[in-house]
């Protein structure tokens, strides 16, 4: 047995726990800054001095990156930098909106099921298990292809509903691990109401894992929206989104590499930042890893 494992065993036998979590580190804050910058750009895109993302300049078609066009222009002469900034709006709105729906419904149900247990929990968990078996992306493609005309609102609703079972499962597992702790039992014995126990005892203790999963969930939804946009099932052009920009670049790959490159880069960097922040928060608060 390694020294480290032995140390841990001795410490836990003595009831001493090491200070949990690793430090957040510099890269964590760089990622937070990057996400903040993207969100800022998405919110204030029309106040920023950017060229109109929808109107092209036919004298400058497929221009490479330069002073006049930071990221170059696309095949219709539209400024790619401006389109990438405006495109972040769709991705971020869908990402946050859908996960808010997922958390709004899935999280309270998950907490309640883990706290109450019994038949309520058994039935709900089976239902969620059944829904989880349905591959989310295929269900989303199916519903969006029939539920026409497509709009941002419908996309958010469909992905949001599809995310409920996953949120439910993560929150339920997290709540289960704290619901049997001594302080919860102590609160119960003292006659605290269910509402108080749920809000004051359980919620703060599952908050780190919820926040961490929220961020990773946003990243997952943005990936999914990108896939839908790539297949032409998200918001209609000319409204830019990272996914449909990559889709438009598909046909002109040989003429203009930059059109595919910049939205891809923007998307990947944003996803890496979100995933990293989520991952770091989880390990910082040293929550036992929930298997997804």
């Amino acid at each position: 047995m390694s020294n480290r494992a032995l140390d841990e065993q001795v410490l836990s036998a003595l009831g001493i726990k090491e200070e949990p979590g690793e430090p957040l580190g510099l890269f964590f804050w760089i990622c937070v800054g990057w996400v903040g910058l993207n969100v800022f750009g998405a919110i204030f895109a029309n106040l920023l001095p950017l060229p109109n993302p929808l109107i092209g300049n036919f004298n400058a078609v497929n221009v490479g990156p330069g002073i006049h066009h930071l990221f170059g222009t696309d095949d219709l002469g539209r400024d790619i930098f401006s389109r990438v900034v405006y495109g972040s709006r769709v991705s971020i709105t869908v990402g946050i909106g859908a996960i808010l729906i997922g958390f709004g419904i899935g999280a309270p149900l998950g907490m309640l099921a883990a706290y109450r247990r019994g038949r309520f929990d058994a039935i709900l968990t089976t239902v969620m298990y059944v829904l989880l078996a349905f591959p989310a992306i295929i269900a989303t493609i199916a519903v969006l292809s029939f539920w026409t005309p497509r709009s941002l609102f419908k996309i958010i609703v469909v992905i949001g509903i599809a995310s409920i079972p996953l949120v439910y499962r993560v929150i339920r597992t997290a709540t289960l691990s704290v619901a049997t702790k001594d302080y919860v039992i102590a609160a119960k014995v003292q006659g605290a109401t269910d509402r108080r126990i749920l809000m004051r005892e359980l919620l703060p203790n599952i908050a780190p894992i919820a926040v961490s999963f929220f961020l990773i969930g946003v990243a997952t939804v943005i990936t999914l929206e990108g896939a839908l946009a790539f297949l032409g099932l998200s918001v209609n052009p000319p409204t830019p989104s990272w996914g449909n920009m990559i889709n438009e670049a598909r046909t002109v790959l040989t003429q203009n590499v930059w059109l595919a490159f910049f939205p891809s880069l923007a998307l990947c960097l944003f996803l890496i930042a979100l995933n990293f922040i989520g991952d770091r928060i989880r390990s910082h608060f040293d929550v036992t890893e929930v298997k997804l």
């Binding site: 670049a249 790959l253 891809s264 890496i272």
Partner: protein, 316 residues
């Protein structure tokens, strides 16, 4: 074991039921009369009669479901009103392509994930583990639709490797070498997506397994590192790997859709997107139903295998 399997089988039936109701109801999400939307305004009365019979449209909605289900159970998924071919034969010609891509990709993913995860687990936090960890974390954030664009840009456009670009697909029967070439980029993309998952799952499970007492026992018997890794650590950890593979299969099919769409490979995904764009709704419905049932069946099958590898699970 038997009780466990019966329980799982009942769950499977429940899931398939939900899927069938969902797929059935899709048609009714369409705005307006399904027959008009599916066939268009210029449809002949004969075509309408066939569709009414297929979908039972003149009956109340819950009876429509049973009419539809009865047809499905007889293998009748309807007729595509664009190409005038049976939906079932459309699916039968597209499905093997998906299967081929996925099988090749899985062989590559396992071949890469098992040795690298073992290497990482042997010295957690060592240099190799850190490099692999950072690489897999980055790859985790790169969606398949970006990966395939990058691969096409480099391999088929920049390096000019033949038969890897868009619409290069030929069937396996015609020319199997060109066939494999045309499927190589999709397979690499799916393999990368799966590799990341398998590597991470197997690494953390192996690290946990290596702390077990039977490993210490094997070490003290003086067994070789290789034998301990493969014989004593990998076998229990392979359960986690199979579980990951099972969960992965739905996402893999979806990633396959995206990849086929870019390269115009006539698998289920490309067929599905074409059908959506042409409003060929019965084809869309048929593919959605087939793929969903397939995913669930594969999950069930993996569950069964996991039970054989590790009988402790069914005894819980």
């Amino acid at each position: 074991m038997l009780r466990y399997l019966t329980k799982r089988l009942m769950l499977l039936v429940g899931i398939v039921f939900v899927i069938s109701v969902g797929s059935f109801y899709l048609i009714h999400l369409l705005p307006g009369n399904p027959a008009t939307v599916i066939l268009g305004f210029g449809a002949t009365p004969e075509a309408k009669a066939i569709l009414y019979k297929q979908l039972g449209l003149s009956k109340p909605i819950y009876l429509q479901y049973f009419v539809w289900l009865g047809n499905i159970l007889h293998g009748n998924l309807g007729i595509s009103f664009i190409s005038q071919t049976k939906v079932s034969s459309v699916i039968r010609s597209a499905l093997p392509i998906d299967a081929e891509i996925i099988i090749i990709s899985q062989i590559m993913a396992f071949a890469a994930a098992i040795p690298t995860a073992m290497r990482s687990a042997r010295k957690p936090d060592g240099i190799i583990d850190r490099v692999l960890g950072a690489t897999s974390f980055t790859l985790l954030s790169i969606p398949p639709y970006i990966l395939i664009v990058v691969l096409v840009l480099f391999v088929s456009i920049k390096l000019g490797v033949s038969a890897t670009g868009p619409s290069a697909y030929v069937s396996f029967g015609t020319d199997w070498i060109t066939n494999l070439e045309s499927l190589s980029l999709p397979a690499v993309t799916l393999a990368t997506v799966s590799y990341v998952v398998y590597y991470r799952v197997l690494r953390s499970d192996l690290i946990a397994t290596l702390q077990e007492e039977f490993i210490t026992m094997a070490r003290s018997k003086g067994l070789s590192q290789r034998r301990i890794m493969w014989r004593h650590a990998f076998r229990p950890s392979s359960v986690a790997l199979l579980g990951a593979a099972s969960v992965n299969i739905g996402g893999l099919l979806a990633a396959g859709f995206v990849v086929q769409y870019l390269l115009q490979i006539p698998g289920l995904g490309y067929t599905l997107i074409l059908a959506i764009n042409e409003s060929d709704f019965l084809v869309v419905q048929g593919i959605v139903l087939t793929v969903s049932v397939l995913v669930v069946a594969i999950n069930f099958f993996f569950d069964f295998i996991v039970n054989i590898v590790d009988p402790r699970i069914s005894r819980e």
